[in-house]
């Protein structure tokens, strides 16, 4: 069973991930901070990570750098509405070899499922 980790400080967002991805049959795990996400990745392997960019404490970009120290391969979707203020940092992370994709908020159920299966079932997945 493919495992998905959702890191987002907003409970409503975590819940919508659980509900919308329920029918895909993947195991969805959610945590509310970057720290907890790192802990979770240390404890187990994941096939896809959804990472919120704007979070209190450790933000998405910092979390990404830590995650990549543990797992260089796992696909990561950065979730963001508008990333102007993080744009430079994201660019730099990308330049530093941090691999990630961006999923723009707001997205609906269908868009989320397509994005998820695209990674986990598509030709680009491993």
């Amino acid at each position: 069973m493919k495992r998905i980790l959702v890191i987002d400080d907003d409970e409503a967002v975590r819940k919508l991930f659980l509900l919308s991805l329920e029918e895909t049959g993947y195991s969805v795990y959610t945590v509310s901070s970057g720290m907890d996400g790192i802990k979770a990745l240390k404890q187990g392997q994941y096939d896809l990570i959804f990472l919120d960019l704007k979070m209190p404490g450790m933000d998405g970009v910092e979390t990404l750098r830590e995650l990549r120290k543990i797992d260089r391969e796992v696909p990561v979707y950065i979730i963001t509405a508008f990333h102007d203020e993080f744009f430079a940092q994201l660019k730099k992370a990308e330049a530093d070899g941090m691999d990630f994709d961006v999923l723009h908020k707001p997205f609906d159920r269908k868009q989320l499922i397509t994005a998820t299966t695209g990674i986990l079932e598509g030709p680009t997945s491993y």
Partner: protein, 557 residues
Amino acid sequence: MAHKTINVLFIEDNPGDCRLIQEMLAEASWGRVKMECVDRLSTGLERLTEGGVNCVLLDLTLPDSTGLDTFERVHAEAPEIAIVIVSGLSDEMLAIEAVQRGAQDYLVKDHLGSYVLGRSIRYAIERKRMEKELERHREHLEELVQERTDEVLRSNRALQAEIAERIRTEKDLKVSEVRYRRLFEAAQDGILILDAKRGQIIDVNPFLMEMLGYTHEEFIGKQLWELGLLKDIAENKEIFQQLQESKYVRYEHLPLKIKDGRRRDVEFVSNVYRVDGREVIQCNVRDITERIKDAEKLNKAYARLERQSVILAQQAKMIAVGVLAAGVAHELNNPLMAMLHFAQYCLKHIAEDDRSYTVLQDIEHEARRCIDIVKNLLTFSRNGAGKKEKYELKNPAEILERVVRLLSYRIEKEGVSLTSHVDEETPKIRMRVNAMQDVILNLLTNALDALEESKKKEVRIDVRPDGDGVLVSIADSGSGISPAVIENIYDPFFSTKPVGSGTGLGLSLCQGIIHAHGGEIACKSEPGTGTVFHAFIPTQRRKGAKSNEAHFSDRRR
């Protein structure tokens, strides 16, 4: 002749001669003669001091004196008494000389006869008297002459002083005349001299001729109002009358029309004064055209500055509002998205014939609407953080498309027919994308607002190349803008919309943005037919160019 006794003193040392003469005189028929005889000069002189002697008969050769000296001494003693020299032949020459020195006559003893002697004595006395008279007259005359001379001298001196004074005054006058002339000719103010009674121009200085464009001949003899300097004759006359009455007129700002029809602004001061018994008016005319122009420029600059500061303040406010809106939008983004997903989850797990199914569909639909609004808000406030947006090369059609998409809901709902034509040749423009988007959004929103009450609801958008830029025209078939309103449409806070519907800032911000791009915005409207806004934006923003004011000069309104 009056028979008056004549006292004769005979100074003679020869007693014979004395006796002889005595006898001769006794025979005299012409009057009584009393003769005294003395033989010494000293005795004679003594006798003379006693007075009463009318005539002296004098022998020059005496025991105590001889020669001319004898005469001199007698003459010195009694200058007023006639002296007749009685001489011997031998000293005739001496006798002649004595006569030359003042003796009345000389008689030679050998030739004497009674008649001759008598005549000589009478004549001598008479001559002496005459002489004295003459002397007195002469003295009187001399006195008179002296007196007159003094008088003449005095008046002469007075005259000379007067002449000197005159000369000095004339010189002073001449100096002050020259000085005045020089002031008059060289003054950097116009000076006009008028006859105070009739207002005729007597003199005019070169500066005024140049200022007003009239020649000296055109000025002289004319009435002030004949020149038509002021707006109308009546006003000219009025000024003149006022001057005549008050003797002083001052206009701080008087607009004049000079000969070639141009306008000159002057400061005008006149005084009335009296010269050579006639009253004249001196008018000083100072050209203040440049000063007025500068003041107008300054006022305009102030007004512009004020307008700009209002716009800037409003822009700052809008930015703040934008930042706030963006914050709110960000906050709403997650919950709205969650609601959408929750509704979609329910729809997935509920039977389509369930009574709640359509309600859930409504929830999904409304959530999507909210999400769209938030999306738009975020798009348009993305630049609201206050940083200056960079210029990018963009196709204006792209911006237009985005705005139309944004307003498509309203366009559809209000039944507006929108036709959009973009010329294929339209070049890309260097622009601030979000700012330009705001402009198009504003203009299109205004067009839609104008259609709200219209039966015919049409909006036509044209984008085409125009010179060195692009012309975007947005025309509506709405109510139009009245000429009174159109004057004010770019003023900040000017709005015809109901309170709460418009900030009155839209067009002023639009104009600001277009000007910042080096472009120009213009509006043409016919009440009842519709309005068209033209925005011209140059493809390359010219360095230093603030706006392209001339672009619409021929088609504005």
